[in-house]
């Protein structure tokens, strides 16, 4: 299985998004680089609205992710509830 990945700006909001990702994607790898956080996982990765809202303690729109997103790798699927990344091979 290939790795999908996501990189976020290292800031206050991202910290909670990363917490949510860690909770929903067991085994995910978190790498800290200057000013950015890189998140990798085998095959798939999901960011759930509900978990992020729980961590942030406020409403959060999945499209708000764009404010902190640096880059990603994998086929994207986004709706009101989640953003997911996956490879088919």
């Amino acid at each position: 299985m290939s790795k999908v990945y996501l990189a976020l700006q290292d800031n206050d909001i991202s910290r909670y998004i990363v917490e949510a990702i860690e909770e929903d994607n067991p085994g995910v790898t978190i790498i800290h680089n200057p000013a950015m956080i890189r998140i990798e996982n085998e095959g798939t990765l999901v960011v759930n609205r509900e978990t992020v809202e729980e961590k942030l303690g406020r409403d959060w729109d999945v499209q708000e992710l764009h404010l902190n997103l640096i880059t990603l790798g994998g086929n994207v699927d986004e709706d009101d509830e989640r953003l997911s990344l996956s490879w088919n091979a």
């Binding site: 290939s2 950015m36 764009h66 990603l72 709706d79 009101d80 091979a89």
Partner: protein, 498 residues
Amino acid sequence: MAANKLNLKDKYRLLTRDLDWEFSYQERKKAFPFEEFEGIKITDWSKWEDPFRLTMDAYWKYQAEKEKKLYAIFDAFAQNNSQLNVTDPRYINAIKLFLTAVSPLEYQAFQGFAHTGRQFGGVGARVACQMQSIDELRHVQTQIHAMSHYNKFFDGFQDWSHMHDRVWYLSVPKSFFDDARSAGPFEYLVAISFSFEYVLTNLLFVPFMSGAAYNGDMATVTFGFSAQSDEARHMTLGLEVIKFLLEQHEDNVPLVQKWIDKWFWRGAQLLSIVGMMMDYMLPNKVMSWKEAWGVYFEEAGGALFKDLARYGIRMPKYVEQVQTEHMSHQLWWTMYTHGHATGFHTWIPTDEEMDWLSEKYPETFDKYYRPRWELAKQMEAEGNRFYTKALPQLCTTCQIPMLFTEVDDPTQLSFRDTVYHGERYHFCSDGCRDIFHEEPEKYVQSWLPVHQIFQGNCGGPGVEQVLSEYYGMNLGADNLDIKGSPDEQRWNRWKGVA
């Protein structure tokens, strides 16, 4: 009472797909004259997928928020005189190169997507290109704005747009985009959205920008990551374009593969500039060019091409010919030896930097490149800082000086040539020669800066006049070694070390 909020999919359908219309008094074919021009077959535009389902209203909302954050940081940066917080004045030269080589490409991307978006019969593709076009305009504007602050304190920032259209090494990035924009609309998307943005630009915007942060340059990392937040959407467009074309018709597969081969090779050669910036121009280094290539091309690209194999797409041709062990060293050496003709300063790496390079390039640096720098050091110590007298020969396709070596022999410069209609053309590699052979009528028109100088089209008669009058460089300030430059003298005064 508030109406129920539409879900994303319905909103996208209403605000994107439903904006299309039927043509009543004009033939559809005439409205989209380039759609069949390249031989691409589209059977059903409604199969176009936009996974982000971003609509114009949400687009403006989030982009405005990004801008507010960005400009707050620019203001803080300027108010705190943060130009004094960068590692050392050598670092600023990477930013000069960025403004003259990369930012104008953002403007070219804006023009390219505005034009290309107009050419598609499918409304999903048109809207995606329209948003990207506006993004790219934002990128060039924010970059100019960020770097205008450095223009107040350092040389070499004054005439970046004029220089981009003229200077010998800047024709490398300029011609890359000129080539893409003068192609058909589908080739443009495969070139820029897929091969460049999806496969390669991470190498520019991610490790290099992280490096800017590591060198104390908050303005650059902020515009870089703000641009990159749009890039995630551009990359996704790139991947969707490929999947869409491959699913529409099997006849599209060989065309798409040919474009991937071409644009991967052109992109890889172009990015040698970024390799040089990372390995030689950042005083604090995050990762080597070779490591960045490993993470962002070999690993990420490997996963991507494995995923695309089900469509009959294979890894780009020439991937084995990308010389990540050598390219950054060879390019910086060329810039160093032509440092009288560059709009930024050059220098010999410090002893510690050379040790870092040995560690990162154990197979090649000590064997091939350290001895050159030791010689340069010795010549400099004798008051003989080396500058070459010759103008470089350029590759007709990528326009990079012939500075790269043979894949199997790093002591032998790589030259290829071909004769077309009685004229001989020169190339840096098999890739560039093959690209020429596919479309010779296009590349015989290449505006090669060195040829233009010799033909008398860039002023003169001497190189000095070309540099100062035609390129607009302030000689003695913008060019030459960092040692003894006005940039260095001012820096030392500010830091109280002079």
